[in-house]
């Protein structure tokens, strides 16, 4: 029995000194390995007298458990110590500069188009498109603007052939024609896209963006037109109230025609939309001219409705305080980065348009 006691005392003594994990494991195998000190005691059991045997065996088992616990405890202790040390050692300096990360940006025109589509989507408009190259017929004649009409002067057109039959569309209105020729009424569409006029100065670019709207049904009148635009303008500028006025104007493809102004004031050199006693023209609209409906085989005595067209670039400028139209198409890295939008910032009905 004294052997066992001696083993235990020795172990206790050893465990007091500073040990690492492999040293403890070594001690473990010295005791419990195949020829370990404890294992060899078990081999003795057969040689002990029958009377003593039972007592010896039970004492040996107790000691064995005791020793195992001691060693396991020590292992645990060492492991904890190691983790603590590791945590201590691996502290990081978070004031160091971050890892470079490049996020791209969405162009303000694209963002504005998505905003516009989102607003009109909610009141039942779907999005249509048309080609950039148009026929002279779709761009002018079908829209009640015959050759020699002075209204054609307002459009400095880019032509693609000598006969002037093919051109770059000067407005998105030919999408009205395409949509109505393709389907049967009712129609309720918006059509954003690129438009072109041979004009270039501070406030004009040879390419710009427009969005066309068209709503044709049995009983759509000017009240619906006013309601639709009033809704759109409030939603787009994210205002509860807006000062808006309709003013008679002339477009060959609508009658009666109107230009729409919104109220604004200047505050610290910046345009503030909504209130104020100044007026800003933002779009043109009107009731689709019966001649246009006839041209697309829609019976004007049965169907009527409105159309509108507005400049997307200009809307973006007003909403986001951008001063120079030409910068839109200049691709200056600083400009794109400053005025661009995070691609995850998607305008939606439920979240709202802007952050």
């Amino acid at each position: 029995m004294s052997d066992l006691k001696k083993i235990k005392d020795e172990l206790l003594l050893k465990l007091k000194s500073k040990l690492n994990l492999s040293e403890v494991n070594q001690m473990k195998s010295d005791l419990f390995g195949k020829n370990g000190l404890v294992s060899s005691q078990f081999k003795k059991i057969g040689t002990i007298a029958e009377t003593e045997r039972k007592k010896f065996a039970s004492e040996l088992n107790v000691i064995k458990d005791e020793l195992q616990d001691l060693i396991n405890l020590k292992i645990k202790e060492i492991e904890n110590e190691e983790i603590r040390e590791k945590l201590q050692k691996e502290k990081i300096d978070i004031t160091l500069p971050e890892r470079p990360f490049v996020r791209g940006k969405i162009h303000p025109v694209s963002q504005t188009i998505d905003e516009i589509s989102s607003i009109f989507s909610e009141i039942g408009f779907s999005v249509e498109e048309g080609p950039d190259v148009e026929s002279e017929y779709n761009n002018f004649t079908a829209l009640n603007t015959p050759e020699n009409h002075p209204a054609r002067d307002m459009h400095d057109t880019f032509y693609l052939d000598e006969k002037k039959e093919r051109l770059l569309r000067t407005h998105t209105s030919p999408v009205q024609i395409r949509t109505m020729l393709k389907d049967k009424p009712p129609f309720k569409i918006v059509a954003p896209g690129r438009t072109y006029r041979s004009d270039s100065d501070q406030t004009h670019a040879p390419m710009f963006h427009q969005v066309e709207g068209l709503h044709i049904d049995k009983d759509i009148n000017m009240g619906h037109l006013k309601g639709c635009l009033n809704y759109f303008i409030k939603e787009f500028f994210e205002l509860d109230e807006i000062k808006m006025r309709f003013r008679p104007s002339h477009f060959p493809f609508t009658e009666p025609s109107a230009e729409v102004d919104i109220g604004y004031e200047m505050k610290d050199g910046k345009i503030v939309i909504g209130e104020g006693d100044k007026w800003l023209e933002i779009l043109g609209c009107g009731m689709v001219h019966p001649n246009v409906l006839k041209n697309v085989k829609v019976d004007p005595t049965k169907f009527q409705g409105y159309a509108f067209g507005m400049g997307i670039d200009r809307l973006a400028m007003l909403k986001y305080g951008i001063n120079d139209l030409r910068a839109f198409f200049d691709c200056d890295y600083r400009w794109l980065n400053h005025f661009g939008f995070d691609p995850l910032d998607v305008p939606t009905n439920y979240r709202g348009l802007s952050r």
Binding site: K105, V133, F158, L160, P206, G223, Y231, F246, D332, G340
Partner: protein, 622 residues
Amino acid sequence: MKITFDWLKDHLETNLKEKNLLEQLTNVGLEVEGVQNLSSDKELFKVAKIIKTIKHPNADRLKVCDVDVGEKELKKVVCGAANAVEGLITVYAPPGSIIPKTKTKLVVAKIRGVTSYGMLCSEYELNLSDESDGIIELSSGYKKIIGKSYFSKSKSNLIDLSITPNRPDCLGIRGIARDLAASGFGKLIDFKKKKIKSNDKQPLKVKIKKERNQGCSIFGSCLITDVKNTESPQWLKDKLISIGQKPISAIVDITNYVMFDLNRPLHAYDADKIEKGIIVRNSKSGEKFTALDNKDYKLEDGMCVIGDHKGVLGLGGIIGGTRSGTELDTKNILLESAYFKPGSIRTTAKKLNLDTDAKFRFERGIDPLSIEDGLNKAAILIKEICGGKISKIDIQKIETYKTKIVKFDINLVEKIAGFKISTKKILKILENLGFKFKKKKNFFELTVPSWRPDITQEIDIVEELVRISGYDKIRIIDPIKERKKSTLSKSQKLFHFLQRSIASKGYLEAITWSFTDSNYNNHFRDTKKEIKILNPISTELDVLRNSIFSNLIIYMNKNLDRGFKDLSIYEIGPTFTGSKPGEQNTVVCGLSSGKKSRLSWIEKERNVDVFDVKKRCSPNFN
């Protein structure tokens, strides 16, 4: 179209203020583009006479002038104009006045060491014309009013209106007054029309040739003999100056006055310079004439010319010629008042790149029944101012004006406008606008006034009624939030996804022109057809792009020149495969330049390489 409230009051009886006028003009569709204050500061501009000039001691081209401005002392003014000579009567702007063209305020200033008290003005500086070569030369008639204001004492501002192309009738003051009166802004004054009383026939033979596409359908004229062309009386000069026109001579001023007042363009010929008689005909290719703008024009086939037996006198309805122009010594005048067809005017003016006040009016459509009114008014004024004897009016025509009748169902107003106007009010408005009406069973039969070429069908009548009643009467009908069809199509959804997906991978979205430089385009064109633009805005943007690469490379390069190095840009948009509508594809194109990463405490330096691109191109796009 420039007007003043004062001139409007010749035709309109009203007690309302100018502020109300500006609002009402816009409300009826005659948009006010700008208002220039003429009264307060323009009174400072005085008629003055140069008494003495000496060469500036320190400058070869400058003169120091002693100027009589109607005060006791002469003013010393430094002037650089070559025509600033002793005895010239001109316009003087004192220190403190604001020059209309440049909007700069004059101060007493030393010019090369000599103090100048004010300035002598050119027509350009006073917004009277584009003539900036030399200072204004006024005729001796102004001698009497040296020291008085050059501009009329009218308190009326100059109002600039933007008249839409469908409203030629509003290119005359009376038409504007009529619209205003119909909308309840005052009452249109009804004049007793004065008529020429004469027993003499107009002796010059006028013939309109019956040719194909003859651009002139009616030619009215009268002869005024023994006139003395002079300067216009002050009231007439003031009127023209008040709307920014320059007085020239009584005859020219009167024809201009009638044009602005009644929208009736006229032309005055020196009758003695007309060879035998007037022939209105199509031009022959190669014919030449010198127009009143002192330019020579070579004509093509089929332009409407007014000629005599010697050749071309002028382009009908566009511009007269120098050969038969009136001068101060003109004795006998043939006054023309005609109807030219809008299409013919437009084609000719476009080919010759000519723009005149008359052309602007005729191409929009002049009242064909205003021919005699114009001749009567102008001839009587000429007689009053220049004396002489007027002949009877001669009218030649190859077509007769047919009055237009439009059937009108009153219910259409509410159907289109969404609000009701009472029958009584509807008829009142139409009457004030010059319509005549007959009641039929379910509709009215309206006779359209001859000055309204824009009105041809029922919807045009609705527009008139809604416009005159006021668009503020249209009530707002809120939209219903209901979606029956999906907003985006499948391809639109894909577009939207790609656009945002690429941006999320570090690319900046660019929007570049759909056209590009053919030199760059050729590198990316492959076998695609080059699509030339007939009238490009510049030679660097002469073709439609076959690929987006050319533009992205051009702009990438600009950014590199700006000093930005590591850059990824992309565009999603059209590329073109042909010049027919629909021969285009929507393409995404990206461009990366520089380093993917730069050496730092945490990263190694690495260039953009093909494997970055591969990642973007992989089919599942992630």
